[in-house]
């Protein structure tokens, strides 16, 4: 198992945002997480990536390491990358610098090398920059490399966030609503890029998404959360027919015709 949580719990005051969630994810899988607003999806991400500290009794394991109480940068170093719902781009940095700072954990030279400014650093920096430019052209942002991230359009920002998360060559990538606010064409484009990146870097993915078409098309398995609890888990087809899921998230059961319409978003 690449990622495993055991009795994961987090309460904010009286509200149990995540309540005893057991979650297992083998390598190379694409897992979707769905659920109504406030069901704890983002909290789950924040707990796993170390932004929040889980309540006592929880256990999180990533790639064989216990990361239950590790700070976020440690988790990042181990190869778990994530994006944020609100993007959290480095607005005032150039696009290429945004991506290059995602490479931080893999930079081959030490701090002392950096301070003394030895020549080998500039060669290494050049290699890193070339590699990151390649990644940028992969997501189609190479022409904008020197612009400020704040000057990009909404769709381009989502691509940039994706590129920044992948820059560190993670083993597991957790995407928090990667397609929110995108037009249908851009959603398709994003998913295509995502699939190509997955193949190229051998990524394992967890995707939170409200656009069900994305989840149904790309994910091999789906986990459904509601009120902080895992109410269902299975293939997209199983989930679609699960009564608990329909009640909590999808709404009333539809016949095939209606379903096709709803999923065509």
């Amino acid at each position: 198992m690449l990622l495993k949580t055991n009795k994961l719990m987090k309460a904010f005051g009286g509200l149990k945002a995540i309540n005893k969630v057991d979650f297992e994810l083998p390598a190379n899988e694409i897992r979707g997480i769905i659920g109504p607003n406030g069901s704890g999806k983002s909290t789950f991400f924040n707990l796993v990536s170390g932004v929040y500290e889980p309540d006592p009794g929880s256990y999180i394991e990533f790639d064989g390491n216990d990361i239950t109480n590790e700070p976020p940068h440690k988790v990042g170093e181990l190869g778990l990358a994530r994006t944020f719902q609100l993007l959290r781009l480095y607005q005032d940095m150039s696009v290429i610098n945004n991506v290059m700072s995602g490479y931080h954990t893999l930079v081959p030279y030490s701090f002392i090398d950096a301070v003394t400014g030895r020549k080998k650093i500039w060669d290494q920096e050049k290699t890193i920059k070339e590699e990151m430019m390649e990644l940028l052209s992969f997501v189609g942002l190479a022409d904008y490399a020197e612009l400020n991230a704040s000057e990009l359009s909404g769709g381009q920002r989502r691509l940039l966030v994706l590129a920044r998360a992948i820059a560190g060559k993670p083993k597991l990538l957790m995407l928090d609503e990667p397609a929110a606010g995108l037009s249908p064409v851009n959603v398709d484009n994003l998913m295509k890029i995502l699939m190509r990146l997955k193949e190229k870097y051998g990524l394992t993915l967890i995707i939170i998404e409200h656009i069900l078409k994305v989840v149904m098309d790309t994910c091999s398995k789906v986990t459904v959360l509601d009120h902080g609890e895992k109410i269902a888990e299975g293939t997209p087809t199983q989930i679609k027919d699960d009564n608990a899921v329909i009640e909590a998230y999808l709404g009333k059961k539809m016949d095939d015709e209606e379903m096709r319409k709803a999923l065509a978003v």
């Binding site: 976020p72 940068h73 700072s101 954990t105 400014g117 022409d143």
Partner: protein, 329 residues
């Protein structure tokens, strides 16, 4: 020109050698009296402080108003080492850098929990506490200040006049700039910027936020401490607690803000301009604080990235146009 740029990019040290030669020639070509040399040394010292301040404020985004206190620590380390041990600049400079670095650690700790105006208040308190401590301690010759701090002697030549001291201050400034450029253009500089822009996102990329805040504070404190020591030895070699008030801090901040926060040249451009303006407005002493306060406010309102950002904008726009132009062909 492009080829020259490429060579400089490959051998950054070469650029500094060229700058050194040019700056060595400046006094004999332009300066007509001793006062201009004195001003040039002062500019060098201010550039060191501003370059350091740019690391912590411009790149790492930590608002510090206590830097003048660390600058004072550097000066008084030099002053006291002369007073009690009789040391010269070559001993006091490293000592000042080291001790200022330790104070940098102390200043960094509040930044782990505090942000923005709250951090500014904490560091302001720290800086003022240092000044008051110096002002009220007999050990520091508070009332009279420390005078006759000696200038260094190299190969029997005393560098005891302003025109000669410039040749001490200028190389030290170049070394400081070299270090600041090296750091800021490396992955560490990028990590600083990431911490400034979004600490949570930076941490998710594997950047240790606390460590980098600490690094930024310590580095910039070392710059301020070194500058303080060079200032203490500046002819006539006299330091007094009154030289390290909030007014000085506002001037330092004005340098960084006006030059361009987070721009690699920001502190340097700002230090040159503001030091000269500071000197020209000396007859208007009562209004100086007002002038620099206004400069900071107006710059932030109308030119948020300072002069450096202005230059950057021009170059980046051009680069983008040429690139997309080539793509459409």
């Amino acid at each position: 020109m492009d080829k020259f740029k490429e060579i400089i990019r490959q051998y950054p040290f070469l650029g500094f050698v060229i700058a050194f030669i040019i700056l060595m020639l400046v006094p004999s070509v332009f300066f007509t009296d001793l006062y201009q040399s004195h001003l040039a040394s002062l500019i060098c010292i201010n550039i060191i402080v501003a370059a350091g301040l740019n690391i912590v404020k411009g790149f790492c985004g930590q608002v510090t108003v206590g830097h003048v206190g660390i600058y004072a620590v550097g000066s008084y380390t030099a002053g006291c080492m002369f007073l009690y041990l009789g040391s010269g600049l070559w001993l006091t400079l490293p000592a000042a850098i080291l001790i200022a670095g330790l104070f940098g650690v102390a200043f960094a700790i509040p930044s782990f929990r505090l942000e923005g105006p709250y951090l500014a208040l904490a560091t302001l308190g720290g800086g003022e506490a240092i000044r008051l401590f110096i002002e009220n301690g007999d050990f520091f010759m508070s009332t009279y200040g420390i005078s006759n701090i000696p200038q260094p002697i190299i190969f029997g030549v005393p560098f005891d006049t302003p025109d000669k001291y410039y040749y001490i201050a200028m190389p030290i400034m170049l070394i400081a700039i070299y270090f600041s450029f090296s750091v800021l253009r490396s992955s560490v500089g990028r990590a600083f910027m990431a911490v400034r822009e979004d600490p949570i996102s930076a941490a998710a990329s594997g950047i240790n936020v606390k460590k980098h805040k600490m690094l930024a504070f310590v580095l910039s404190a070392m710059f301020a401490g070194g500058a303080g020591a060079v200032y203490a030895h500046l002819p006539p070699g006299y330091i007094h607690p009154n030289n390290y008030t909030v007014i000085e801090m506002v001037t330092f901040l004005a340098m960084v803000v006006f030059g361009g926060l987070g721009h690699i040249w920001g502190g340097i451009i700002g230090a040159i301009i503001i030091t000269i303006v500071y000197d020209l407005t000396r007859p208007l002493y009562e209004y100086q604080l007002f002038i620099f306060g206004l400069t900071i406010v107006l710059t932030i309102l109308f030119m948020p990235k300072g002069i450096g950002g202005f230059i950057d904008k021009y170059f980046i726009d051009r680069r983008f146009k040429t690139k997309t132009g080539a793509a459409s062909k």
